[in-house]
């Protein structure tokens, strides 16, 4: 049956005439299954599909897997794939010959594939690692059926970042409410700064601001329902989010629609701009070395006192097990190892832009921003996963990304834009693809 399916898929693509399906991923999947079921030495190999082909995370993973071999006796046979390619091909990958264990994300992104029956549950893994995790983390690792499908490894918060030295020189203090935030932005403008570095050439960075505005105005529960059910887009609550957002646009970087987040983070690093809503995973890679201590942040300000600052956007990265792993027992043991603070500490040794998900990591090795991130997340009553991880994959990028860009270009058209989002959401949730 799956042969017919793939044949049809390729047919559709060729018919489109414009694209060639990057099928390298599936091809790799079948070639690297050296962890055969023949027993003996073969049972000691676990295959792993990684989305971390670039040098920085790849090196960290390589030392982690070397340590895993010393501690568990398991050899990890890795198929390195470019991050975006991995993501683009995940559906084909999981239906082909996927590796036993692979990199993925928590939230709806995990639940979607669990719901499609493309994953193996990892309840056995959690029997071993459950004690290492908070209740919030456990909740983020379960599918709708109550089984665990995900082992969290690292994560990072989204917040409002700034340069400590710039703020000290100018005498700015961290705002906690919307009015203070706007007042600070005005003052920065008078001081000749770009008040808020904001960039949206890639489309997705703006989603973080939407998530925070929605959680601060309408609360976490409304936000998650909106993301999961998609049935209340054309509502006064969502309109309020866009209206609030329109107040920020005059403070944004000139030419923000043509800038990448790297260029925005540079504006913070170079002290041209005052503050920026971004993830630590991004800005932490720009503030490196002795600049790391200069990176400060505060939680996105309160708008509705009913919800305060109770939610933090903190996307979790981790691992999942494919539906029928060749080496199931080895995969369970490897995942149990990756679910320990020890393993995560090894990996974090070379990464200043994330924090560990397991309890018991030696925090003295964290940078100031990493240590503060832990505090911010632990204080939070709710953790969200970022728009493209909290909602259906066929809705976030194809519908929301261009809609938000449209709004940022024409803030006055908010009403017609949310009406259009609503119609598209209705049709997507009603159909099956």
């Amino acid at each position: 049956m799956s042969v017919t399916r793939r044949g049809l898929l390729r047919g559709a693509l060729l018919g489109a005439g414009a694209i060639a399906l990057p099928s390298a991923l599936t091809a790799c999947g079948s070639s690297s299954g050296s962890g055969g079921s023949a027993g003996g030495a073969a049972g000691k190999t676990v295959s792993f599909g990684s989305n971390a082909a670039v040098p920085q995370p790849k090196g960290a993973y390589q030392s982690l897997f070397a340590q895993a071999q010393r501690e568990t006796g398991l050899t990890v046979d890795v198929n390195w794939v470019d991050h975006n390619t991995f993501q683009q091909n995940i559906t084909t990958y999981l239906q082909g010959n996927p590796q036993d264990v692979f990199n993925w994300f928590a939230g709806e992104r995990m639940e979607f594939f669990a719901g499609q029956g493309l994953l193996h549950d990892v309840d056995e893994v959690w029997a071993g690692i459950g004690g290492n995790y908070t209740e919030a983390m456990k909740a983020q690792s379960k599918g709708p059926d109550g089984h665990y499908y995900f082992v969290p490894f690292d994560y990072y918060p989204w917040a409002v970042y700034y340069s400590r030295s710039l703020w000290q020189a100018k005498g700015y203090t961290e705002p906690t409410t919307w009015d203070e935030y706007i007042a600070l932005a005005r003052r920065m403008k008078r001081d000749g700064l770009i008040p808020i570095a904001f960039t949206d050439k890639d489309g997705w960075p703006a989603m973080g601001t939407f998530d925070y505005l929605n959680m601060r105005i309408n609360g976490f529960d409304f936000h998650v329902e909106l993301m999961r059910k998609g049935d209340r887009w054309n509502s006064p609550q969502v309109k309020a989010v866009f209206d609030q957002w329109a107040q920020l646009i005059p403070f944004y970087s000139p030419g923000f629609m043509g800038l990448t987040w790297q260029e925005g983070a540079q504006q913070i690093l170079n002290k041209q701009a005052g503050m920026m809503v971004l993830g630590l995973d991004q800005i932490g890679t720009v503030f490196t070395g002795d600049k790391a201590a200069d990176l400060g942040f505060f939680a996105f300000p309160e708008i509705n006192p009913k919800y305060g600052q109770d939610a933090v956007e903190a996307p979790i990265d981790g691992f999942m097990m494919s539906h029928s792993p060749r080496n199931h027992d080895g995969a369970v043991r490897l995942l149990q190892y990756l679910g320990t603070a020890r393993a995560q500490q090894t990996w974090l040794g070379s990464n200043p832009a994330d924090i560990a998900t397991a309890d018991g990591v030696d925090a003295s090795k964290y940078t100031q921003a990493q240590a503060d991130s832990v505090k911010l997340i632990q204080k939070a009553a709710h953790i969200s996963q970022f728009m493209d991880r909290d909602t259906r994959p066929d809705f976030a990028d194809p519908v929301m990304l261009p809609a938000i860009q449209q709004f940022l270009n024409h803030p006055k058209d908010a009403a017609s834009i949310i009406a259009s989002i609503d119609k598209q959401a209705t049709s997507i949730w009603a159909g099956n693809g």
């Binding site: 018919g15 414009a18 694209i19 890639d202 990028d397």
Partner: protein, 282 residues
């Protein structure tokens, strides 16, 4: 032996095209077997035309692309080719310089577009003093500007492509014809109009075809810049967005692909007619 190419085109071109037309009447996430396909009739087409905001700009941009490719690279390429054909000093050097962009991949030209047009770090704004403060010209993010910045780069490449086609054509024009025309007292312009241009007829058809193909399959440059959003929408990008990805809308994407196919047909069918008519005559 004619059976082999026929078999190949049927299997690799017509069958997949037909399948995507069939799938355009379905709703299917690309997961599970054919039993998961739901037939929804014209629903995908209705949605594309009524509630899919990127569709209209994508069609407009594909048409702008086509018109610009006809109006700029085609005549400029012909002009450059006739100049190079005159065997002036250093014509090989000019030829290489003008042909160079054709060798570059379109994705690379996308990166070059970013280097030149980025608002704060790009060459253009830094040279003209528009890289800072409120005077920033947002070449890549302003939906009224970015399509022209991209088209400028696309034309740069296409011109070299067209030029090399015409140059090959001009080289094949029998020099004795030109000499004969000169002996009869024809000037340069007259020789071109009455002798060279008719001889270039087969090349004109080739140029016509590559102009149409290159403008309808335009994809790489805009995808590198911002994945074809915010003023850079193209039909090929919308097809990709909906079919390739974490969760696909195969039916919806196939409907978009079918629309692209129909648009291509508007150019392919007249071409086929004229070809077959000629064969009958010959």
């Amino acid at each position: 032996m004619a059976g082999v190419p026929l078999l190949l085109t049927t299997a690799l071109v017509w069958l997949p095209a037909l399948l995507s037309v069939v799938l355009s009447f379905a709703s299917w996430p690309g997961i599970g077997g054919v039993e998961n396909i739901h037939w929804v009739g014209l629903q995908n087409y209705r949605n594309i035309l009524t509630i899919y905001p990127p569709f209209q700009p994508a069609v407009e941009h594909n048409l702008i692309w086509l018109v610009v490719f006809f109006c700029v690279p085609a005549p400029v390429g012909l002009f450059l080719a006739t100049q190079l054909d005159k065997q002036m000093r250093g014509s090989r050097l000019y030829q290489s310089v003008l042909f160079l962009p054709v060798v570059l991949s379109l994705a690379l030209i996308g990166f070059m577009t970013e280097l030149i047009f980025s608002p704060t770090q790009g060459l253009l704004n830094n040279l003209t003093g528009h890289a800072r403060g409120s005077s920033v010209v947002d070449w890549l993010g302003d939906p009224h500007l970015n399509i022209w910045a991209v088209l400028l780069m696309a034309c740069w490449r296409q011109t070299g492509y067209v030029m090399i086609m015409y140059l090959a054509g001009l080289k094949s024009v029998d020099p004795s014809l030109k000499e004969a025309a000169a002996l009869d007292g024809a000037g340069g312009r007259q020789t071109f109009r009455h002798v060279v241009w008719p001889a270039l007829r087969p090349i004109n058809v080739v140029v016509l075809v590559i102009t149409v193909i290159e403008s309808l399959r335009a994809f790489d440059i805009v995808y590198v810049i911002n994945r074809g959003t915010n003023g850079l929408e193209l039909l090929s990008v919308l097809v990709t967005d909906n079919i390739v990805g974490e969760a696909s809308r195969i039916g919806f994407g196939s409907a978009l692909a079918t629309i692209l196919l129909v648009i291509s047909m508007a150019f392919v069918i007249p071409y086929l007619f004229s070809t077959f008519r000629k064969e009958e005559r010959g």
